[in-house]
């Protein structure tokens, strides 16, 4: 095995190994969440996943963005088929090992190139939308700093990878045309053949160096990108799938009934004997560990696109609440806990108050606009509701007006101070 092949194998193993390590970290973070029963209705779930994640159905609500996003996504998937060949070539020192497929191979390479070009166009449009156009959802407070840089880095990396791919093909094609040994004719290059003439006056050695350099940069770039995912909102390209699979299939108005409360209420109404062994768990959520694993997976899947926040009536009218921030805060807090391992005291520092303020939580109208808007089935509202439950049931710290309303319900069965005896007064009014 040559030095190049050895080096390649080592880098490949390292890249994949570190990725596996990150996946494990991710799973550990998500597993901090409480269990939840979501293994029912597999068929419907699969169907929802196909519609939302593969089909990107909700993305198509804005046709331009929807189509461009689909191009980038499909382009990425399809071009990465080329990885199979890159790995074979890298490990065995072959040149375009799959070219024995003949016409099918030529067609595939041509398709990859066309997609690469389309991806470049789409990514440029996305960059312009994000940075030059005044689109409100790209300009919220929670996007300052890392999230903004992250979004732009992703676009730049995608752009660079596509150029590396096309450049590599262009140099390869130049060498094929010259009949240089090892570079036997294979593939068809509708886009990169436009670049090839650049190399006309170069010596074979220089073009080989360029071809090798770009080839290496391309594969290194892909492995790097794979490992960048964990630190980025780009994780959604993987998590969108389980996320849409496990999203609720019920009507959006149906909020889960807390089973512990049900048992206690039944005991109180003497419908069931109280279970003395029952562990008293915390009601609602004070911290990310009080949420379910699906809610945590939601947080890690969030693309930070802000469609939820753009649709949120509270946010639109200047309130502090932003459902996107709810998801980002939840993720950041879950990561803080899973990566601290007792190094730092994180117990004093909870999701409630340190990340998400009460003012944000009390601004929500439970209108479900955020849930409806999310392209990948994230439910920020369920987290808001769970945190309200903590505030009300564990701390009895609801806003005064709401306490008055609840007292009315307790005393006279209506949120206002009216007497139940008067319920039929409307008849004669």
């Amino acid at each position: 095995m040559g030095l190049q092949q050895l080096l390649f194998s080592a880098i490949l193993l390292l890249g994949i190994g570190f990725f596996a390590f990150n996946v494990k970290r991710l799973i550990r973070s998500i597993r901090q969440g409480k269990p939840v029963d979501v293994i029912d209705r597999k068929k419907e779930r699969t169907f929802a996943m196909i519609r939302l994640a593969f089909g990107q159905q909700k993305m198509q609500r804005n046709v331009l963005v929807g189509v461009l996003h689909l191009v980038v996504y499909l382009g990425f998937l399809i071009i990465n088929v080329e990885l199979i060949e890159i790995i074979i070539d890298g490990v065995f020192g072959t040149h375009r090992a799959l070219s024995f497929l003949g016409a099918g191979y030529d067609l595939a390479i041509a398709l990859f190139e066309l997609f690469a070009f389309a991806v470049i166009v789409s990514v440029v449009v996305f960059w312009i939308r994000r940075n030059l156009m005044h689109i409100k959802r790209f300009r919220s407070a929670e996007l300052k700093g890392w999230p903004k840089l992250d979004a732009n880095l992703i676009l730049i990396i995608e752009l660079v990878l596509m150029f590396l791919f096309l450049g590599m093909n262009a140099a390869d094609y130049a060498l094929q045309l010259r009949g240089v040994a090892h570079y036997s004719p294979a593939g068809s290059f509708p886009i990169s053949s436009w670049i090839t003439p650049i190399f006309n006056s170069w010596s074979d050695g220089h073009v080989i160096a360029i071809e090798r350099g770009l080839w290496w940069a391309h594969i290194a770039g892909i492995l790097g990108f794979l490992n960048y995912l964990y630190y980025s909102k780009h994780l959604h390209i993987l998590l969108a799938f389980p996320n849409t699979f496990y999203a609720s299939l019920d009507p959006k108005g149906k909020f889960e009934n807390n089973a512990t409360v049900t048992r206690e209420v039944k005991a109180m109404l003497a419908m069931e004997a109280a279970d003395p062994n029952q562990e008293i768990e915390r009601f609602g959520a004070k911290d990310s560990t009080d949420l379910t694993w699906v809610q945590l997976m939601n947080a890690y899947s969030c693309t930070e696109c802000g469609r939820c926040t753009a649709a949120c009536p509270a946010n639109q009218t200047g309130k502090l609440l932003s459902p996107r921030k709810i998801m980002m805060d939840t993720r950041d807090r879950a990561t803080e806990i899973s990566s601290s391992k007792g190094v730092k005291d994180v117990a004093e520092h909870t999701l409630l108050d340190h990340y998400i303020s009460r003012e944000e939580l009390w601004a929500c109208t439970s209108c479900n606009a955020c849930v409806e808007a999310c392209p990948i089935g994230i439910d920020p509202l369920s987290i808001i509701m769970k945190m309200r439950q903590y505030i009300v049931m564990e701390e009895s710290a609801a806003p005064g007006d709401l306490n008055a309303m609840m007292t009315n319900i307790e005393n006279n069965g209506a949120p206002w101070a009216f007497n139940a005896q008067d319920r039929l007064n409307w008849v004669s009014d």
């Binding site: 149906k254 049900t262 639109q316 309130k319 003012e359 069965g413 319920r423």
Partner: protein
């Protein structure tokens, strides 16, 4: 106008009879002045269609929706179980209600606590009555009027009922004009999630002001509502904008068209 005759479940039971449906009036429908008019209009329509219906009267209690959306799961479940006990004792099968919050809670959140009923929003029920030929509507009064319809969150997005209320408006021969944001994209009126019962959080505008401005942009003569809270919110917003559009529930429009 003749005196409205409303029978309670208790009265039905005493006569050894069972009504076709239970009309769940709801707290707003029982106590709020604007909503009481909707209750009345709907009851008249039921009479007109010769639907045998009962109410629970003083045996009805808050479904618990505002408690649940505030985060008080205890109070919600206490309310729910007490209501379920009453409903099950009367062997209720079908419930119709003019409040999307009651509708959503009864339909979606009561089953896992032991309350299984067919639950209909009044716009769905009225649509059925028309389709079955039990209720007839002709436009007369509203001919040529512009009507816009505000989707309540708990009817629309929460339960994906967008067409029934629009089908009823279509019967009025009026011109249905949609707001910029409608159906699944409709903007909330600002009342949900127990906001109705508290001051809004700090912001630069109240949500109902934003939404009612959008309604006024349609230059509609009438803003049709299908929820007692939306009704109040939209009416307040339009008043603050000095707008001239009237806010009315779909049931009121149908009743008016029938001169009831």
């Amino acid at each position: 106008m003749s005196e409205l005759k409303i029978k309670t479940m208790a009265e039905f039971l005493a006569e050894g009879q069972a009504p076709e449906v239970l009309f769940w009036v709801g707290c707003a429908g029982s106590f709020d002045d604007r909503a009481k008019k909707v209750t009345k209009a709907f009851a008249k329509l039921l009479h007109n269609a010769q639907v045998s219906f009962a109410v629970l009267g003083k045996e009805e209690s808050c479904t618990g929706d505002p408690a649940k959306r505030s985060g008080n799961e205890f109070l919600f479940q206490m309310q729910a179980m007490a209501n379920i006990e009453v409903l099950n004792a009367y062997e209720i099968k079908t419930i119709v209600t003019t409040c999307p919050h009651c509708f959503n809670t009864l339909k979606n959140e009561y089953p896992s606590l032991g309350g299984h009923y067919e639950v209909l929003h009044h716009t769905q029920f009225l649509k059925q009555l028309i389709e079955n030929g039990r209720l007839s509507v002709s436009g007369g009064t509203f001919k040529g009027k512009r009507i816009t319809y505000h989707d309540p969150c708990y009817l629309g997005r929460a339960n994906e009922i967008y067409e029934a209320p629009r089908a009823l408006i279509a019967k009025l021969d009026a011109e249905l004009v949609e707001m910029k944001r409608c159906k699944r994209d409709a903007l909330c009126c600002g009342a949900g999630g127990a906001q109705m019962f508290k001051e809004p959080e700090k912001g630069n505008k109240d949500i109902n002001i934003e939404r009612s401005a959008e309604a006024l942009e349609t230059k509609a003569d009438i803003v049709a509502a299908a929820c007692p809270f939306c009704n109040t919110m939209m009416n307040d917003g339009i008043t603050q904008h000095n707008g001239s559009s009237a806010v009315k529930d779909v049931a009121q429009l149908i009743a008016e068209a029938k001169d009831l």
